[in-house]
């Protein structure tokens, strides 16, 4: 009895203590603090903040991998192990979303903001992985600002006259969407007939996979397929909640783009003046406009998490990273009311934990990095910025 009560007391103490979830592989002050809780939806604000966790393989391949920078993916491949930090912004958003499932709840909007490299996309990845494990449908867009810089098979839109389709990006996104939601998609049905053109249409009741297959076979209609699926989501025909993740959302309201309107090679019709080289902005691209509709608040049973970044300010080297400045008046009015979430730089505990992990995993090989002065210098040079720390740590090698 006594041993059991002692065991219960120890267990409860471990559960209640802030680092009770921490599992150290070896003791000491320089050990990286890892948690064995690899399920993102079970991370809690009380116990797991500041600890590193290892994402599961399925989660990583399906979801989290897309939210990481290529450098980080390569780092994990090099080191042979993956560890991501559990941080406050993702947990706060996850907490809000946990009680939000269910029909009748309007779309919540969260805007992550912070300096470049502070970790906004990874926080979104944490939220996305947690929602996927809860069974939500994921709609994620990672490259909107790249879609605006180059045009891939640009042509005039048939389903939305006056706008332009980027068929290549539509196909790529549909493939990515399918890979992310492979378990859920077979159960989804289209509620109305989708007519691609005068002759061809997909009947109501067909599965989403059929729609995606059709669009992949006929790339010309890939953007139309995306639009149809988004309409379905907004109508509420999807039984589970939907999470929309949009990186660099401020490019949707940007006035510049890399696509000129004479990228379409066509001769002007009789009486028509040749078009002058204006930018085709996000307002005129059907793919981006479709996702912008998902960021609106007029649909139920879902949430949208987006980030704003100076990367979305195309051809303008902005040093600003606050959301209202990046979104502008129009973007702010569109997204209002939303909840801004600040992704702050690493605190001292997070920084030291990260440095410990880099040292243990073999990324920081310099001897100076083990000293207090070296660690202080790394912390100062990176200024708490996660991306900067990754880059600088890679430069500190034993010569």
């Amino acid at each position: 009895l006594l041993s059991r009560s002692i065991a219960n007391w120890l267990l409860r103490r471990r559960q209640l203590s802030p680092f009770g979830a921490c599992v150290n592989r070896r003791g000491g002050a320089s050990a990286a603090l890892l948690t064995d809780e690899s399920a993102p939806e079970r991370h809690s604000l009380d116990r797991h903040v500041g600890l590193l966790y290892r994402p599961e393989e399925a989660d990583w391949q399906a979801v989290t991998r897309h939210f990481c920078r290529p450098e980080l993916v390569r780092l994990f491949d090099t080191l042979g192990q993956r560890a991501l930090m559990v941080r406050r912004p993702a947990l706060e958003i996850g907490e809000r979303l946990a009680g939000h499932a269910g029909d009748g709840r309007p779309c919540l909007r969260f805007v992550l903001y912070g300096r470049r490299g502070s970790g906004k996309s990874l926080q979104m990845g944490h939220v996305a992985a947690a929602c996927r494990r809860r069974g939500w449908l994921l709609v994620t867009v990672h490259n909107a600002h790249l879609w605006m810089r180059h045009s891939r098979e640009l042509h005039e839109s048939a389903h939305r006259p006056g706008m332009f389709d980027t068929a290549g990006y539509g196909c790529i996104w549909l493939r990515h969407f399918y890979a992310m939601n492979q378990e859920i998609l077979p159960g989804l049905r289209v509620t109305k007939e989708l007519s691609w053109n005068a002759k061809e249409s997909t009947p109501a009741g067909s599965s989403w996979k059929e729609v995606i297959d059709y669009a992949l076979a006929r790339p010309r209609y890939s953007c139309a397929a995306v639009q149809f699926l988004i309409d379905e989501i907004k109508l509420g025909s999807v039984p589970m909640p939907t999470l929309v993740c949009f990186e660099v959302a401020n490019c949707l309201w940007w006035h510049r783009s890399g696509i000129k309107n004479d990228a379409i090679r066509r001769t002007p019709l009789q009486g028509e003046e040749p078009p002058w080289r204006a930018d085709i902005t996000a307002k005129q691209l059907t793919l981006l406009d479709a996702f912008k509709q998902l960021l609106d608040s007029d649909w139920n049973n879902g949430a949208a998490v987006m980030s704003v970044s100076p990367q979305g300010a195309l051809f303008d080297r902005l040093r600003e990273w606050m959301p209202r400045k990046l979104l502008g008046d129009e973007g702010f009015a569109y997204l209002d009311p939303f909840v801004p979430v600040y992704v702050e730089p690493y605190g001292p505990a997070e920084m030291s934990n990260m440095l410990n992990w880099y040292t243990e995993s073999g990324w920081l090989t310099s001897e100076a990095a083990a000293t207090d002065a070296g660690r202080a210098e790394l912390a100062f040079l990176s200024d708490g910025n996660a991306g900067e720390l990754l880059r600088i740590a890679g430069e500190w090698v034993t010569c």
Partner: protein, 427 residues
Amino acid sequence: MTPTGKLLLLSGLARRLLAAPSNHSLAAAGYSNSSSSNSSDVWSIGEGGVDDAGAASVSGRRGASSRRAGFAGYSAADVAAAAAASNTAGFRSLVVPGLTKEAAKPPLLRSRHPLTPRCDRMKPAHSSWPSVWPTARTFHPAAVPLPVRQGRPNNATENAGISPNKWGNTELIKVPNFLHLTPAHVAAHCAAIKHLCTPWPKALDEPGVIDKQLPLLVVTTDYLRSHHSIRDIRARRVDLSLCLDRLVKLDKRSLEKLLCLVSFSNFAKVDTQVVGSSRVRHLRMWSDRCPWRFQNYDYLIYALSALYSQSLRHESWESGKAWIDNQRYEFDGSSSQKKLAKLANEPATNAVTHYRNALIKLHRQPENGGTGETHDSLRQYGRAVEFLLGIGKGGGGGGGGPVKKLDASSAQQTGQTKRTTERQAAS
């Protein structure tokens, strides 16, 4: 003629021919002939002998630009006098220049004693500089008791490699000097006009009284220039400053119009200082568009009058002002307010108030009463939104209900004409 006589004649002729003409101009300038005390030296060059007792030779005190020598010369009368003096037995005596000692004779011209220049005779204890230099005048080296130098020699041999001194220095003459405006001069001027002045009103020393009594502040700047021209183009600029509270008859609408008009101009701005809970607004204008200072001042007074009178006038077309024309963010009429109507659940009044205050604080700049975009204002906005929508820690189960039904007229895409808008029943 005897050979001696011939010699005499020749010598006399020679003397006559070679007699230096009396240089009247040199004499007038004070260059004296050599005195006859050195009569053995006929061609005595150099020191104008000075008769003044105690006065040293002047040439030593004159600088590098040495004076021309006094040219010794004899006139015909001198020769006759000398001959007459030495002719005792009816014979002409032999006068050999350089050998014969002759009696001193008084100089015919009163020798101008070369005076020490005034600058060397001035004694600080006895002289008053304003009386020496009462008004602006061209630099004169003899009157200014300062060893000033100006100029630069081209090489080490020119003027022994040092700057030329003040004597005959044209550069010093060309540039303006302020020797007529020393503190002694200023004191004398002030003393002369003091009886015309009234005392400074003591009441103006209290803080804020000057701003109240004399609201218009005009700032002009004078520049000193060490250049061949003393003019400075920046001296034409005039700055004008006025507290907006002093403009009477400016109601809210007129003030807004004035701020709008000022925002269009490139020579006026309104500075807002937040002092505690109140705002002090200053209208600041500047002008350097006219070449002269008084023209710029007149222009600023005109511009101020025009600005004021136009803000008091209200045209009929001003009623077409839209929400976007507001000088500062207004919640009423904004799209955020319109979106509140779209929420199905009527939000609580205090939630709307929090939301409104947070938006105002976020959008308005500090001079308009808000804080602009900061982490704090964004966090406050986020909390207000969570309260409004009923999410977050506070309102877990509360409001933010289903969105209103979309009807056919609000279909988002124009191209979807074949679709029928029907919704599945909410489960």
